[in-house]
Subunit: 423 residues, 2 copies
Amino acid sequence: MKGEIISVGTELLLGQIVNTNASFISQRLAELGIDVYYTTTVGDNAARLREVFAQGWQRSDLIILTGGLGPTMDDLTRETVAEYLGLELVLDHGVLSTLQNYFASRGRTMTDNNKKQAYFPAGAQILPNPNGTAAGVFLVLEGKVVVMLPGPPFEMVPMFEREVVPRLEKRLSGQRELIKSRVLKLYGVGEAQLETMLQELLERQSNPTLATLAKENELHLRLTAKANLPQEAESLLAEMEEKIRSLVGRYVFAVDNETMEEAVGILLKERAKSISVAESCTGGLIGHRLTEVPGSSAYFRYGVVAYSNEAKEKLLKVDGELLHRFGAVSSQVARAMAVGVRELGKTSLGLAVTGIAGPGGGRLGKPVGLVYMALATPDGVYVEGHNLRGPRPIIKKRASQAALNLVRRYLLGYLSGEKEDNG
Amino acid sequence: MKGEIISVGTELLLGQIVNTNASFISQRLAELGIDVYYTTTVGDNAARLREVFAQGWQRSDLIILTGGLGPTMDDLTRETVAEYLGLELVLDHGVLSTLQNYFASRGRTMTDNNKKQAYFPAGAQILPNPNGTAAGVFLVLEGKVVVMLPGPPFEMVPMFEREVVPRLEKRLSGQRELIKSRVLKLYGVGEAQLETMLQELLERQSNPTLATLAKENELHLRLTAKANLPQEAESLLAEMEEKIRSLVGRYVFAVDNETMEEAVGILLKERAKSISVAESCTGGLIGHRLTEVPGSSAYFRYGVVAYSNEAKEKLLKVDGELLHRFGAVSSQVARAMAVGVRELGKTSLGLAVTGIAGPGGGRLGKPVGLVYMALATPDGVYVEGHNLRGPRPIIKKRASQAALNLVRRYLLGYLSGEKEDNG
C-alpha cells in the first residue's frame, strides 16, 4: 500500500507552525508497513488543494489529509475532496446533535457556520473527535482510502490512533509488512570514511537497509528492517548491528535515543569511576551535559569553569610559567588543568578543555576552533588537539562531544598506547 | 514571485525527523514577501525527486531544495536537478581544495565519494558552507531561481541567511507588499495574564497583528506588520513595540533572536560589572549559557559546579553547619554559595543556584523542582525560591533562566526594596 500525506493550512506555508503532523503520521505508517513516498503541504485554497489531491489520487492508495475541517470559510478539505470525487455532502444528525450539546454545555451559541462540521461525503465513515468539534472522515472508494483528520495535533493524534490505525490494520491484515529501525550513533569517523569502511555491507544490503545521516556532533547510521513479525524485524536488526560493530564498533557510542553523556555515565558507573571537569572554552557545557543524566551525582563531583588565567592558576594550580610560555590554549595547559582538577576533586578522572571558541581570539598558529583537551587518569594523562569548525556554539558543542568521547575511549581501553608521559 | 520548497530525505518520509527546514524557509520567504503555495517532501529517490522537481519547475519561480547534498550514494539532489535542467556537473577546484584542507586538518582521509561534493551544475553560484562539507547552489535559469541547500539545519540556516536572502532581496527590489515581524520575549509573566494586560491592544489592533506563543522558558509576543516599504513596516513595528513596553516593559528581556544570556551580557558590559557563578542543580548550564555570548570573557570570570557538599564547603567556603542545619537545597546555602563565589572570583556579582532537578531526590517539604537562587552584590544579597515543573532537563533550563533574569532585574534596578539583609 502506497501512502501519501497532504497537510492543509496557510499557517504551515507561512512557517508559523512546524508540521509535526506529517512526521507523526509518516512514522506510524512506516511502522504499519505502509510506504510514504510524498508529503505535500498546501494552503487553504480550493484550486490548489484540488490539484494536490488529484495528484495523490492518481499515484497513491492511501491519502491522509490533515487540517481544513474547521467551521470557518477557509476550511475547505471536506468540500474540495467530495467535489473532486463526485460525492455529495450529507448532513449527519448524530454529529449535529453532538455539536449542539457541545455548545449548549458551554453556554455558547452555535452559529450557522458550525453546522458545516456536521456534513460528510456520502458513504464515509465518521470518526468521532473527543477533543474538538471537527469529526474525521474515513472513506473507501475504488479500492483506495481517503482519510481526513483535524489539524491540531492534540485532536489528530488520538483520532489517528483510535480510529485510523485499527481500520488500516484490518485492511492490511495478511498482506502487511512492518518496518522497524534502529539508529547507531557514531563519533570520530566521517560520513564518507564510514561508507568506505562499510562499502560491502552498503552495496549488498537490502534488508535491513542502511542510511547515514550527519548530525552536528555525530553520525547516525540507521538500520531499517522489513518483516512480517516484530521478532523477525528485531533479529534482522540485531544481526546487522553485530556485523557493523565488528567493522566499526569502536566508533559506535550509543544506540537510538541514548546520548553521549548517558553512554559515558553508564561506563563511569559500571567501572565505579568518578570525574571532575575543568572547562575553559566550553564554559560549563560539559558539566551541564554530564548532569543532564539522572543520578550523575554518583560520579560527577567538581566542575570548574576557569575562563580567566587567574582561575586556572588559583583553582587548578596551573603553573603561571606554563600559561606564560605556551599560552592558555596549549596542550601543556590542558594537561595541567586536567591534573589540577583531578587533584581538587580527588576523583578517579580529571577532564579539561581549553580552546578558542571564537569568533574573536584567533591568531596565527592558534586559529578559532583550536581546542586542546586532556584526561588525567591513574595511568597518566592523555592529551589531544582538535581543529573544530563552525560558529561559537557549534565549536563548544563539538569540543564537549570530543571531550566526552575521550573519557569513553579511555574507559573502554581504546587509548592504550596513546598515552603521553605524565610529566 | 512564487516560491516552492522541496525537502529531500527518506528520513523525513519515515518521520524520523521533523521538517523544521520547511517551516523556517517558509517563514523567511513570507517576510521577504514571496508567496509559498506548496511544500513537498520526497525521499532519496532519483525518479520521484525528478518528478517533484519537474512539477515545481512548471508552476513556481523560485524552487528551494534542502537535503541530498552529502557525499554518499543516496545524495542525489545536485545530480537529479542538473540532469533535469540539462546542465553538466562541473568540478570546482576551489571547493575541492577546501574539502582537501578540511580533511587534512582533521587528519582524516578524503575518500573518492567526498569529491562529488565539489561538482556543481554549470553556471551555478556556489554558496560556501562554513559549518560542513556540502556547499550550496544558487542557480538562475530562464528567469527562474533554483537554490540547493544542505539538510542539517545548523548548516542550512546560516547559509540561507548569509547567501540566499541577500541574493533574493536583490532580485525582489522594487516589488510587492512585504511582511515584517518582530518578537518581544518576556519572562516572569503568564500568557493569560499578559493577554489581560494587553487586552485593549489585542482587540483593537490589526496592523501590526499581535500573537502570543508560550515557550518552555519564556513567552513570545509576535508583532506582524504589512507594508509596501521596509521603513513603513519598521515604523509600524516600532510604534507598537513602544505601546507594549509602556504596559509590560519590565517583563520584556529581549527582541527577536536575542537571548536572555545576551541581554544579561549587554547589561553587564554597559555597567562594567563582572560575575562569577556557583551552580549545583544546573550543573554548568548557567556558565555554558553566559559563555555562548562572544566576548563574555570580559565579564564572566569563575564558574564552579559544586555538585557535592564537599565542593560547596571547600571551594565556596559554605559553612558545614549551614549545610547540616538547612540542607544543601535551602535559601541559606544559596546565599552562602553566592557570597562565596563572589569572593572567590573577586567579581562585582556572585550568582548561585541550588535545587532538586529530579527525577529522584525529592522529599517532604523539598519536592523535585524546588530551586533556590541568590545574587551577591555590593549592596547585599538577593535570595529567591522557585517551584519549577517538568522533567529534569526542563527544570535545569527554567532554573538557569530564572537565575539569569535575577541578574537582569538587579542590573535594571527592579530589585530595590526586595533586598534581604546581608547577614
